[in-house]
């Protein structure tokens, strides 16, 4: 008698927990898939505004969860500008002033290199895993590939302003879109994957665009030109002295 009531209940509880773990796991896998244990990427970033557009070519290295180095190689006048992140700390370097500057907390919300990404977006990409509660909203089949729609709600005390975020992630860990909703549940901005290709031995979103809903004419696009995963990267790559004086 007892077991007959308890068993379905237990199953229900455990499946809810499993669902949540699954959702978190899907998000974590997607980030790990995008970044690998270590990676080297060469990409082009296009910043588009109604009256101008500019593009820059960047090199980026990542290692583990929290270390990354981004360096501008083109245009020439910006060559050598760089950003180093370690844990949640962030430094920038500009050869023109020959100074490494630690990005103060007051500037973390500001635009990174003039783009539609904030410094915080760059420095703390994986907050999405542990500062949110994830649930799977739906599982759909698109052209033979399962797509999970995952709703991520930030924890009460998380340093996140969004009301919720909705990620669409394919079963092969490719993020199709990442939508940011405000606390009135209005869509504010979306990061959309425009092209998905095979590169560096993985299927990845090679072209992504960040657009604000209010200003559809303003966007930032990142196109991956080349990517390599699981490289042996020296720890010395992610140091302030290397940010200042590239030795690669």
């Amino acid at each position: 008698m007892n077991t007959r009531i308890l068993l379905p209940l237990l199953l229900l509880v455990s499946s809810a927990a499993a669902n949540e773990r699954d959702a978190t796991q899907i998000v974590r896998d997607a980030i790990d898939h995008w970044r690998g244990l270590s990676s080297y990427t060469e990409m082009t970033m296009v910043i588009h505004r109604p009256d101008w557009e500019r593009s820059m070519t960047l090199q980026a290295w990542t290692k583990g969860d929290d270390r990354s180095l981004v360096r501008v190689i083109e245009p020439r006048k910006d060559r050598g500008n760089g950003t180093l992140t370690d844990d949640n700390k962030m430094w920038t370097y500009s050869p023109k002033i020959n100074r490494v500057i630690k990005v103060p907390s007051s500037m973390m919300g500001q635009s990174w290199m003039g783009s539609d990404f904030s410094n915080k977006d760059v420095a703390r990409a994986d907050d999405i895993v542990d500062q949110y509660d994830h649930t799977i909203l739906s599982e759909t089949d698109e052209d033979g590939i399962v797509v999970f729609e995952i709703e991520s709600i930030p924890h009460e005390e998380a340093a996140v302003v969004w009301g919720r975020e909705v990620l669409r992630i394919r079963e092969d860990h490719v993020v199709l879109s990442h939508a940011f909703y405000d606390q009135d549940d209005e869509l504010v901005k979306t990061l959309q994957s425009l092209e998905i290709v095979e590169m560096g031995g993985r299927t990845i979103a090679s072209r992504q665009r960040m657009v604000k809903v209010d200003e559809p004419d303003e966007w930032t696009e990142i196109a991956v030109n080349d990517v390599q995963y699981e490289l042996e990267l020296r720890d010395s790559l992610f140091t302030l002295s290397n940010l200042r004086n590239p030795r690669d």
Binding site: N88, K89, K102, P104, S105, S106, M108, G109, Q110, P154, H155, E156, E157, A158, A159, V160, V161, W162, G163, F180, D182, Q183, V188
Partner: protein, 409 residues
């Protein structure tokens, strides 16, 4: 003595012989006196309000900081005394109020905007009387204790950030190692302040929540004390100074808010200048009236002298005339000023010009303040200067040659 009573009777009668001129002069003097006192009371009220607002805008009467905090109000300049130590030294020491706070610069971010603000981690119970926050005038609620996890921001800041009560915002600052310290807060209340600067410059969170977020344990950045009267903070200052050593700096409010401090000093000088300026305008009328009064009765004066009146008595009579004129005028003016301040004693709404006033740091309701010292000052200055101004015509009248004066046509 008899001489004086005769002279004053003569002077009084003479004043009313040409009553039209006397009434015009009385009008001028009383309006002048009214303006001196009334305007002084208004300005006093304004400055007083500014200082009270200024003090309630957080300085308290006496403050204790790390010696470098005032130059660099950052998390690195924490007080060397933690909360327990402060409690031991100051609890029950008889201050009207005292409180320790965490006060550091921070950035507040909503979905759409971010702004630089001053983060205040407070213990709401201890802050009573020390903040400009009117707990009755809050949309939502105020912090309930040092562990309250909510945040209270100004209504104006909320509009800028396009957020409201019940929504979450992110507060970002840094910890003593210069690492980012941030946390999400749910807005539990919006406060209204008489000064817009306060409304978008300060955000309030629980003290212990702020200490956890900034990873500073039980440390704070400032302690403020409130004594009985902002004009006399010395007892409080001495008491605090005696309880601490040289590792912290103890400051009076007028040293922290130097603008407010010098304002108070300027105000005292301003009252004297204002009274003198009005008097200068008045004195032309007064001297002119007296000179006319002398010219008009050269023959009469000559006759009195011929009958044996001493020149000093003539001098006395003219001066008495001007003094009587001034005393009556001042009395009317004082009454007028009192009568016009009485109905607006409970506050004059000047919200029409509020925007301009707020730029100066004054609020939109003006409480005129009639100080006895200002009234005495205005009256005494007018009497003394009036006496000096009437000396010259009186002197001239007393120097007439009787024969010449009588025969003058």
């Amino acid at each position: 003595m008899r001489m004086l009573s005769v002279l004053s009777r003569l002077a009084w009668r003479y004043l009313w012989r040409n009553h039209r001129r006397t009434i015009v002069m009385l009008g001028a003097i009383s309006i002048g006196a009214w303006a001196m006192i009334f305007m002084t009371a208004l300005t006093r009220g304004m400055v007083d309000q500014m200082i009270l607002d200024g003090i309630s805008a957080l300085p308290g009467h006496v403050q204790v900081h790390h010696p470098d905090y005032l130059d660099d109000p950052s998390i690195n300049n924490l007080l060397p005394l933690d909360d327990e130590e402060l409690e031991r030294r100051f609890a029950g020491a008889g201050f009207v109020a005292w409180s320790s706070r965490v006060k550091v610069p921070a950035v507040i971010t909503s979905e759409r905007e971010s702004r630089g603000v001053t983060l205040l981690g407070i213990d709401p119970a201890a802050e009573r009387g020390l903040t400009f926050i009117d707990e009755e005038n809050i949309d939502g609620r105020f912090l309930e204790g040092p562990d309250d996890k909510g945040i209270v921001i100004g209504a104006k800041l909320a509009r800028t950030l396009e957020t409201e009560v019940g929504k979450r915002v992110v507060l970002m600052s840094q910890d003593p190692d210069n690492d980012i310290a941030d946390r999400g807060f749910r807005i539990i209340g919006l406060f209204h302040a008489s000064m817009p600067d306060h409304e978008d410059g300060y955000v309030f969170v629980g003290k212990r929540v702020a200490q956890n977020m900034l990873r500073i344990g039980g440390a704070t950045t400032e302690v403020v004390f409130l004594g009985d009267d902002y004009r006399n903070v010395e007892p409080t200052y001495e008491q605090v100074l005696a309880a601490v050593d040289g590792s912290v700096s103890v400051k009076r409010w007028n040293e922290v808010a130097t603008y407010l401090g010098s304002m108070l000093e300027v105000m005292d000088g301003f009252v004297v200048i204002w009274v003198i300026v009005i008097f200068l305008a008045l004195s032309f009328g007064l001297v002119n009236t007296l000179v006319m009064a002398v010219f008009e009765r050269v023959r009469e004066i000559g006759l009195m002298m011929a009958l044996g009146m001493k020149p000093s008595a003539i001098l006395g009579q003219i001066i008495l005339e001007s003094m009587l004129l001034l005393i009556v005028g001042l009395a009317i003016g004082d009454l007028l000023a009192w009568a016009s301040i009485q109905p607006i004693k409970d506050g004059l709404d000047i919200s029409i010009v509020a925007e301009g006033m707020e730029m100066m740091g004054a609020s939109s309701i003006l409480y005129p303040k009639l100080l006895l010292q200002d009234v005495v000052l205005a009256n005494v200055v007018v009497l003394i200067l009036g006496f000096l101004a009437s000396l010259s015509p009186a002197w001239r009248a007393s120097r007439y040659e009787p024969v010449e004066a009588i025969t003058k046509v």
